[in-house]
């Protein structure tokens, strides 16, 4: 992981010299931060280290973590960091979008469990009518976490499933409706406009929804994630990201680049395949997690 690599890297340097920062830049690149962001971060960290006269390894660790969190915070809008919901008795609709296999369906299962455990009423919409076994997968999650699922006929228009689910959620005063959509690559025009249609369908019955439109990103994705964020945002205005599979060897560094360019917050992280493997994103935790052997 990132922490181990960084530790090894710190061990190599007794004094803070230029090589140190070159290597720090490499390390950031290896976490998928991207070249530009790595360069920017390294410059910021170099300046900060100078400013704070950090000379020892321990000084540097602290400066780096602090600066990383600061950079993350300053790039966002503090009011929009957590999952949003309203308590006015109207249904909160969450729309999940993303490329194929990112973890949308699984995240919905996990989040349904969280809401359910909080005593909320939850409904799921199986609007992936395309992929083999997709409806069955969500239905199985519904069973696991004891939440009803609205399904349509095989190969049905996904918007029609969303229409039915929205109607039902509103009629039953459900607290949450979580809408699963089929995976789609952001360069597929037809599939992206299908998503637009789904959003329109929701708005027809609930003009202020979706409360959240979340792009689910696989944590091991490289620089393409930036294009994903931009194109999905163009189609259905995003309110945040879900970063999945952080239990693997990747640390999802590309969200720092996305944050840098688009101010989009990460709201949830996926840490495994079980219903309980979901956590709120926390910038400090994230930075400390990256460097956890050091602080």
């Amino acid at each position: 992981g990132f922490g181990a690599r960084l530790n090894k890297f710190f061990a190599q340097f007794r004094t803070v010299d230029e090589d140190f920062f070159d290597d720090l830049e490499e390390l950031l690149i290896e976490s998928d931060v991207g070249y530009e962001t790595a360069e920017q971060l390294t410059t910021a960290l170099r300046d900060e280290a100078k400013l704070q006269k950090a000379k020892s390894r321990d000084d540097l660790k602290k400066v780096i973590v602090e600066k990383l969190v600061e950079l993350y915070d300053q790039n966002g809008d503090a009011a929009n960091e957590k999952l949003r919901s309203h308590d006015d008795g109207k249904t909160n609709i969450y729309l999940f979008v993303g490329v194929n296999g990112a973890g949308k369906t699984t995240t919905i299962g996990k989040l349904a469990k969280r809401f359910k455990d909080e005593g909320k009423s939850v409904l799921l919409a199986a609007a992936d009518t395309f992929r083999a076994g997709a409806v069955e997968q969500l239905v199985e999650w519904g069973k696991r976490v004891d939440v009803p699922v609205v399904t349509g006929k095989e190969q049905a228009d996904p918007a029609s499933v969303v229409f039915d689910a929205t109607t039902k959620a509103i009629a039953e005063h459900a607290d949450y409706l979580l809408v699963d959509t089929a995976g789609r690559l952001q360069n597929k025009k037809n599939l992206m406009s299908e998503l637009e249609k789904i959003e329109r369908t929701i708005k027809k019955q609930a003009p202020d929804e979706p409360t959240e439109t979340l792009l689910v990103l696989d944590g091991s994705t490289g620089q393409n994630a930036l294009l994903q964020a931009k194109d999905f945002d163009k189609t259905t205005k995003l309110t945040g990201l879900v970063l999945t599979k952080l239990d693997g060897s990747s640390k999802g560094g590309v969200v720092l680049a996305i944050r840098n360019e688009m101010k989009l917050p990460v709201k949830l992280v996926g840490l495994g395949e079980k219903a309980s493997d979901l956590a709120d994103f926390d910038a400090a935790d994230y930075a400390v997690g990256l460097f956890h052997d050091l602080v």
Binding site: E26, I29, E30, S31, D32, G34, Y35, E36, V99, N100, G101, A102, G103, G109, F130, R131, A132, G133, A134, E136, Q137, V139, E140, W141, R144, L185, Q186, N187, K188, D218, S220, T221, G222, Q223, N224, A225, L226, L227, K245, D247, G248, S249, S250, G253, V254, E261, E273
Partner: protein, 308 residues
């Protein structure tokens, strides 16, 4: 992030070089910064990029610039040739067993496209070889994974062996293989659950499956959008299972797909097929030259240089 074409960048960087003659060390150093950037933007692993640049420097230094090219183009030609060479010289194929069935096992991280690719491969074998494959549902963990494979089998009219209550995957595979023997299936394709290469119990499970199935092909399915971790992942699966080849999926997207180079570099195993969509017909033979120019972000410029 609009990527500037590598050839444009190199040409720009070497703009002041008007003379032809030989490529100097300075030229190479200037160009290599651009090459490095382009490869990193394409998600080629950092260490792989380093080694690659070293190779290019050695290859290019002191080389005569061809009559029809300028120095920038000459460097690009060297980069492209070297990259194509690294991607694998000729089209690789599946290993075929002397006795039926030929056994193929899919492995990889979660969500990369294994189950879909099982279906695609079956379709390809049927279309090209009139094969009679059996699919084995070896993913007992993911919700509805068996349903997914069964639906794919139905679409192709191909039998799927599954057991809904057995918790030992090796056992399921063993039983599936018996059925294949009884029914004289000529190919068996085994789907397995997605797993992290650092997940000890699940990696052991794959070793057990390998032991009972003795597959002729162990194919690592990799998402073309994978970033820097591609090397760790590939190394992890290869060191445990000695994979025989790679399938790169989701190349119908707009990713540059640098993971392809990373995987080649650390495993030396061939990329055999690419996934080009969600339909079962969207599987193609891998083309090293196309992949090289995709990673470099170059199109027309290359054909121009290749003719030189």
């Amino acid at each position: 992030m609009a990527f500037e074409n590598l050839s444009e960048r190199i040409q720009k960087a070497l703009r002041n070089l008007t003379g032809k003659g030989k490529i100097s060390e300075e030229d190479i150093n200037t160009a290599s910064r651009e090459i490095r950037l382009a490869l990193l933007e394409a998600d080629v692993n950092f260490k792989v990029v380093k080694d690659f640049i070293k190779k290019i420097k050695k290859e290019a230094l002191g080389k005569e610039v061809q009559e029809s090219l300028n120095p920038g183009q000459q460097v690009i030609k060297i980069v492209n040739d070297e990259l194509t060479k690294m991607m694998g010289e000729s089209a690789a194929t599946l290993n075929k067993s002397k006795h039926i069935p030929t056994i193929i096992m899919m492995v990889g991280l979660q969500g990369t496209g294994k189950t879909t690719t099982v279906g695609k491969l079956a379709k390809r074998l049927i279309d090209k070889d009139k094969a009679r494959p059996l699919l084995i549902a070896g993913d007992i963990y993911r919700p509805a994974a068996i349903d997914q494979l069964e639906q794919i089998g139905e679409q192709l009219n191909v039998p799927v062996y599954s057991e809904h209550d057995e918790k030992n995957v090796a056992k399921i595979v063993e039983n599936g293989l018996k059925q294949a023997d009884d029914n004289k299936n000529d190919y068996v394709i085994i789907d397995t659950a997605g797993r992290l290469e650092i997940d000890e119990p699940l990696m052991e499970e794959l070793e057990q499956v390998k032991k009972v199935a003795q597959p002729d092909n162990i194919l690592l399915v990799v998402d073309a959008m994978t970033g820097q971790a591609a090397t760790d992942v590939a190394k992890g699966f290869d060191s445990r299972l000695d994979i025989t080849g790679v399938i790169l999926t989701k190349l119908d997207g707009d990713t540059r797909g640098g993971a392809a180079l990373s995987i080649r570099a650390v495993t030396g195993k061939p990329i055999i097929y690419t996934g080009q969509g969600e339909k079962l017909s969207d599987l193609e033979q891998f083309h090293p030259d196309r992949m090289a120019s995709r990673i470099l972000g170059m199109g027309d410029m290359l054909t121009l240089i290749e003719k030189a």
